[in-house]
């Protein structure tokens, strides 16, 4: 019995290791976007978040039964991030560090992970309209504060919403 269990555990560990080898790069990038840390330096908060999510996936491995371990880990990552969102409010110099943690989470799930709006809403326990609003706000905020000129200047684009728009002159405005 003990032998069989240890054999099963070894197989389980091998499968898990293969999964991590394939998915860790993308998952760590997602975690880094969530915590607001820059990608060029080591990101300890993102690593910790990912480690906690991955360890849960390891513990649930036998119960996944055909579920995608990547989606499972991403869901754990989102849930853990929601629980610890207060710790990630402070800007850390990353791409999304000016957004609120909830806006970051919605933006990353929708546009980096390509999760549908309804699915994002269900996963976060929010109404779909709220997800839509958060997303629009995050998009506006991100574009209005982006450093550097736009890749394709738009003459007739609507001005981005948010309180910060008045301070930065828009070079593309007519």
């Amino acid at each position: 019995m003990r032998e069989r269990r240890s054999e099963q555990e070894r197989r389980h560990a091998r499968e898990f290791e293969r999964f991590v080898a394939g998915a860790a790069g993308r998952l760590l990038h997602t975690a880094t976007l969530l915590t607001g840390e820059p990608a060029v330096r080591p990101a300890p908060a993102a690593e910790e978040l990912l480690l906690r999510a991955l360890s849960r996936t390891y513990a649930d491995w036998d119960r996944l039964r055909g579920d995608d371990p990547y989606a499972h880990t991403r869901q754990k990552l989102a849930a853990l991030f929601t629980h610890t969102a207060r710790r990630h409010r402070r800007p850390r110099g990353g791409l999304l560090d000016r957004l609120s943690p909830q806006e970051r989470l919605v933006l990353v799930l929708r546009f980096h992970e390509d999760v549908a709006e309804e699915q994002t809403a269900a996963q976060l326990g929010l109404p779909a309209e709220r997800v839509h609003t958060l997303c629009l706000h995050a998009l506006g905020e991100l574009r209005s504060r982006r450093p550097g000129p736009a890749p394709f200047p738009e003459a007739g684009s609507a001005p981005a919403r948010g309180p910060g728009t008045g301070t930065t002159p828009d070079p593309a405005a007519p």
Binding site: F16, A21, L54, R56, F111, R143, P151, F152
Partner: protein, 82 residues
């Protein structure tokens, strides 16, 4: 392409930016933590099962022994009214 689509495409491109380096021992650390979590869960499950069993045993005993009833008298009460 609508302005909203263009906005989304632009943000997607921004999000796809440089990826952080994955530490080489990430899988090993996650495995070690996951194993600890499993052991912890297994222990909690066993403790829960043991507690449930104890509660069940206590209920069965109580139903059989009915300790809340007064114990039967050992002497017959005095007979009066003859």
């Amino acid at each position: 392409m609508s302005p909203a689509d263009r906005k989304e495409t632009e943000v997607r491109r921004m999000l796809a930016g440089p990826h952080p380096l994955v530490p080489t021992d990430l899988a090993a650390r996650a495995t070690a933590r996951g194993r600890r979590l499993m052991i912890h869960r297994r222990r909690a499950r066993r403790l829960g099962r043991l507690l449930a069993l104890l509660v069940l045993a206590a209920l069965v005993w109580a139903a059989a022994a009915q300790p809340w009833l007064p114990s039967p008298a050992h002497t017959t009460p005095r007979v009066e009214g003859w």
